[in-house]
Symmetry: C2
Subunit: 379 residues, 2 copies
């Protein structure tokens, strides 16, 4: 509710900055046209952004056409950076991203069942090594339920109730990996430019996020997107989350094992990969298990289409493989799960484009959103 002149005055520069971030490699002339700015205004804004060490310009690749060449907008060499912490079930990585979203290369560290108390000090140290005037915010992606800055529970990591606020004193955004992958798909992946997109990542269980106009809908404390704990499954089956009938239990390696008459696997993710590989190699039982799981996934996708009316659905993680080996079963179940009137105009259900980079890219975007505000310009 702040409408003072200070805030309003920065709007033009902020819009240019966000445009350069969202569309890396855009030229100044193109950006000005998109924002409806005159060339004079664009000159003024770029002058201020360069003076503020936020953006710079580089010679554009020749277009071959006539006319004075324009310049591409690039992040300023002294411009703001965000740090990205990407924690998976087996690894952790700390890297940085600049305006434009490009992630710097960084070493991948093994994690292997270590407790949070062993890993977080190392992460904190890696973040401290990046500290400096350019670093403005930190984004963390983690495979578990997140509430504010707290990791409620990460089953794969066997971490519980971990406060991630201790990692840094900078502005911090913590997010569930599946949700952040959805943010990434909407901004840089398969759902770019779509007004309302639903993303689902299947790993062990299923999570995701609804994206509206590029912003994630994650609820009061960022704990939304736990679609795997909607009771789309058998109500008599208890879920480790404490509820019953969770969709989670129907769509991953645990479900595949049940369909194959096997014991619950210790590593459901690895079991699912093996089953999918077997299905690809022609094993009929594995293929049937994949179809059954794909159908359970598709059924839930249909239900969520009813509830949130997305223009596109992106599937990540095992969802990519399930689309590949059991696409027809998945799509058929989706069609059966939606209200009848939708069946002749279903939103496309497509594989995610960013693969395992999704969570890190989403964390970078979320952290950068904290930076690209008028406060960042004044500072």
């Amino acid at each position: 509710m702040d409408h003072r002149a200070e805030t309003l005055r920065a709007q033009g520069a902020l819009a240019m900055l966000r445009c350069a971030h969202r569309t890396p490699g855009i030229t100044r002339a193109e950006a000005a046209a998109r924002l409806g700015l005159s060339s004079g205004s664009a000159a003024g804004i770029m002058g201020r952004l360069r003076a503020a060490r936020l953006l710079a310009e580089a010679p554009a690749p020749q277009t071959g056409g006539r006319g004075r060449p324009t310049a591409v907008l690039v992040p300023h060499p002294d411009g703001p950076l965000v740090a990205v912490v990407d924690i998976t079930h087996a690894t952790w990585t700390v890297t940085t991203a600049a305006i434009g979203g490009a992630l710097a290369a960084a070493p991948v560290h093994r994690l292997l069942g270590q407790p949070a108390s062993a890993v977080l000090p190392l992460v904190r140290e890696a973040l401290a090594a990046l500290h400096g005037p350019r670093l403005r915010a930190v984004g963390v992606a983690i495979p578990g339920t997140v509430h504010g800055r707290t990791l409620i529970e990460a089953t794969n990591l066997r971490w519980r109730g971990v406060d991630l606020g201790v990692l840094t004193s900078l502005p911090l955004a913590v997010g569930n990996d599946a949700s952040l992958a959805g943010v990434a798909e909407a901004l840089r992946g398969a759902a770019q430019g779509v007004g309302v997109a639903l993303h689902l990542t299947v790993e062990v269980g299923v999570g995701g996020v609804l994206i509206v106009d590029g912003r994630p809908v994650l609820g009061a404390a960022g704990a939304g997107g736990e679609f795997g704990h909607l009771p789309f499954g058998d109500p008599s089956r208890r879920c480790p989350c404490g509820a019953g009938g969770c969709w989670d239990l129907e769509v991953d390696g645990r479900a595949m094992a049940r369909h194959l008459g096997r014991r619950a696997p210790a590593d459901p993710r690895a079991f699912a990969e093996r089953t999918i590989a077997a299905a690809r190699d022609g094993d009929p039982a594995a293929a049937a298990a994949c179809r059954a799981v794909a159908a359970a996934l598709g059924r839930g996708v249909g239900a969520l289409i009813n509830a949130v009316d997305p223009a596109v659905v992106t599937l990540g993680g095992l969802g990519v493989d399930l689309l590949d080996v059991a696409g027809p079963a998945l799509h058929a179940a989706t069609a059966e799960g939606v209200m009848a009137w939708r069946r002749d105009a279903l939103p496309p259900v497509v594989p995610a484009a960013l693969g395992s980079q999704g969570p890190a890219i989403g964390a970078a975007e979320t952290a950068m959103a904290l930076v690209l505000t008028e406060a960042a310009l004044t500072a």
Copy 2:
């Protein structure tokens, strides 16, 4: 993506206008303080808004304190209006709302099983009678699935595939009654000032909406919020929507009749009212049916809390009565349906505050949102 001076220049006035709309009866001094405006700026803005015939000022009730009295912001007598069409299963009403959200009184017309082809010309006529320079937009609330401006299906009305765009040539917003009631609760009712609120209305089936920062999350074409068609129920039970296992079938008069061993009622809404009345009068079978339905409602509420993480849940329609006659069963089922870590900090589940006015108020707000843009100021 438009950041031209024209657009930016109106921002201060627009903020003041929206503030006056959102908070009827607010004083100029209070509004200026909220927006962070100096008294000089407020004077300038109010001068322009008065000249544009958008807002006026009226003497404020005396505060008893010292100092020069301020004025309350009121809608200009020649200011913009929106028309509201409220269609229920049994009635239709056409009225108007001004800035501030107050609905004018209007006659209620019976509907009684008439087809859309009989009713819509009357509605169109009633809207035409309101036409004039003050009328800027129309909002329609209707009990059925809405996709863009088309009513896909309204089971109660027995209307299908009706294009409501024919009602007017003005800007038009069509919405599902349950979703619009949620909009109303968030802006004027039990969820005011809450960042993320979930509203559910139970009538025949259950619908609703998620509200984030005062804006409804309704998907790509406004067809979201059909939470009743999430498969939280018995998968073997077919739903008229074409899918199976819909939650709709577990939470209304149809479900109560099943629990009582009765045939499916012709009017599930009336049957539910009778059953609830009987439960209030001490009928143990009716009370048990109410508890069973309340539990099915509560279970789904818990599931949706997992998925969208609302700060508050408002229940409208029969939900108000179920909270009254079977609140403990409902709350217990909610607690059982959420992930265990949530159980000691569940969001409040409260009755809606606006009753049967909800859809109309929501339609007025949605239509007014079309008007309170910079385009409306320049015109």
